[in-house]
């Protein structure tokens, strides 16, 4: 029994999504016009989307609407007029387009970079240096009902044994990147330990990244399988056949050109 008919926009969307997915996957064969088409569409759509988002969230919601509201409701008050300061600074950035007054853009960059640098210092010190050190130096023994005890449970990151591993890891990795002292004798052992910690962490990070890419791949394949059903007019299957045919035609045409 046939299922309910899908709305036209969903059906059209499925064909577009399946086609674009196959265009990008065609790169697995080799660089080809279909992939380039998909790649340029991706850049174009992403840029267009960023422009629309910036216009509505930044220019309209943060700038135009508050200023317009103040002009209508309370024109005498300063209110949102201060928002014209960042607007002017933003316009100064555009001075880069006119070589004669390009230096004006420096004021805007100075404002942004100065703010960023100032904000970064206390936050980096408190959140990323002091806090990280504080979290690294944990007590080895804890006072429980049975008196003092040290945890040997590897599964608990807070256990005493893991605290020792954590301290050794942090110190040895920091020492490995500390080049003011020559890595000889005990220093060499510490630096080598740091390398092993780094290798394990890089391996773990790599494995984690591979699995996240795999999950994206499964997601795309699952969509293609869904779009290959009769409900979607066998979109994925039809487009796969067309993609293969297009690639074969392109390959033959390229070989013909090379032969000439």
């Amino acid at each position: 029994m046939p299922g309910p008919v899908l709305p036209t926009e969903t059906l059209l969307g499925a064909w577009v999504a399946a086609g674009l997915t196959l265009f990008i996957y065609s790169f697995l064969y080799k660089d080809n016009p279909l992939f380039k088409l998909g790649e340029h569409l991706y850049v174009g759509i992403s840029v267009g989307y960023s422009v629309v988002l910036a216009w509505h969230t930044v220019f309209l919601r943060l700038l135009w609407e508050p200023v317009k509201k103040d002009i209508i409701e309370n024109p005498a008050a300063l209110g949102s007029y201060v928002l014209l300061i960042p607007a002017v600074l933003g316009l100064l950035m555009w001075a880069r387009f006119i070589p004669k007054i390009a230096w004006l853009s420096r004021l805007a960059f100075a404002f942004v970079v100065g703010f960023g640098s100032g904000v970064a210092i206390p936050r980096a010190v408190s959140s990323y240096i002091l806090k990280q050190i504080e979290d690294t130096v944990n007590p080895l023994v804890i006072r429980g009902a049975d008196g003092l005890s040290m945890g040997f449970n590897l599964a608990s990151p807070q256990s005493g044994v893991n605290t020792i591993v954590l301290v050794i890891g942090v110190v040895s990795v920091l020492f490995y990147f500390f080049f003011s002292v020559e890595h000889t004798g005990p220093g060499r052992v510490t630096a080598r330990t740091g390398i092993y910690f780094l290798m394990i962490a890089f391996g773990a990070a790599f494995g984690y990244t591979v699995m996240s890419r795999m999950s994206l791949l499964i997601g795309r394949f699952s969509d293609l399988i869904k779009y290959a059903s009769a409900e979607y007019g066998y979109a994925a299957l039809v487009l796969l056949a067309l993609t293969v045919l297009a690639l074969a035609a392109w390959e033959m045409a390229s070989r013909g050109r090379h032969a000439v």
């Binding site: 999504a17 674009l20 997915t21 990008i24 790169f27 697995l28 569409l41 991706y42 174009g44 759509i45 840029v47 267009g48 989307y49 960023s50 422009v51 629309v52 988002l53 910036a54 216009w55 930044v58 943060l62 700038l63 300061i85 960042p86 933003g90 950035m93 390009a102 230096w103 420096r106 004021l107 100075a110 942004v112 970079v113 100065g114 703010f115 640098s117 100032g118 206390p122 980096a124 010190v125 990323y128 240096i129 990280q132 979290d135 599964a155 893991n162 954590l166 890891g169 990795v173 290798m199 394990i200 391996g203 773990a204 790599f206 494995g207 984690y208 591979v210 699995m211 890419r213 795309r220």
Partner: protein
């Protein structure tokens, strides 16, 4: 003129840097309001800065079209896609959904951007496999450690691996929560120290690369 071109930007950087470094240590409503407002200002300035990037991409592809370099047709495709998205976006008033119903921009996002983005990133799964083959050939003790850690994490993150070797889940958790944490923490401490040093150099006017080149530098 030299003052306006060189000293004034450095003075602005210094004043802004010192003011907002101190602001963190002043828990007063005025100080809190200042950081909230200026953070909003930064969002507005970044909106204007987007135009710089847009101009750059326009310029690169306009040159390609003008000179008719091989593949210039794709630049027209890029322009067309960009223009179409902008028109659709303005027509949809920048909303992807209104009262739960998908707008034209939402359609473009769901059926073009999401599949393209997902596929672009997922294609890396294939290339990462060949990269892994080259990187993981256990030619040294360090490479072997990397290989073992990566394989354990990959096994521990999938149901099949957990079914075949149930202990890989615990080992993966330990590697990620303890060893990986230690390394990330050390790197974070090092990077933050570098960030503080660079910020100080910028505020004090020692680092000026952000002002761009030129004779006035």
């Amino acid at each position: 003129m030299i003052f306006l071109k060189r000293q004034l930007p450095l003075a602005v950087t210094f004043v802004m840097g010192v003011a907002f470094a101190i602001q963190y240590y002043i828990p007063h409503p005025v100080s809190e309001e200042a950081i909230t407002n200026v953070s909003k200002w930064m969002q507005i300035i970044s909106g204007f800065a987007l135009a710089l990037g847009l101009a750059s991409i326009f310029h690169v592809h306009a040159v390609k079209i003008k000179r008719q370099v091989p593949g210039w047709g794709y630049s027209i495709v890029l322009y067309a896609a960009m223009l179409a998205t902008i028109i659709v976006g303005f027509w949809s008033k920048g909303e992807t959904r209104v009262n739960g119903a998908q707008t034209a921009l939402g359609w473009l996002y769901d059926y073009s951007m999401v599949p393209l983005q997902g596929t672009m990133f997922s294609i890396l799964a294939f290339f990462i496999a060949s990269a892994a083959y080259r990187a993981f050939r256990a030619r040294s003790r360090e490479a072997s450690v990397l290989l073992v850690a990566a394989v354990l994490v990959m096994m521990g993150r999938v149901p099949l691996g957990q079914f075949l070797l149930p202990w890989t889940w615990d080992v993966t958790q330990w590697l990620l929560n303890v060893v990986n944490s230690a390394v990330r923490r050390a790197i974070l401490i090092g990077v933050s120290m570098g960030q503080v040093a660079l910020s100080l150099k910028i505020i004090l006017g020692i680092e000026r690369a952000y002002l761009g080149g030129g004779r006035d530098q």
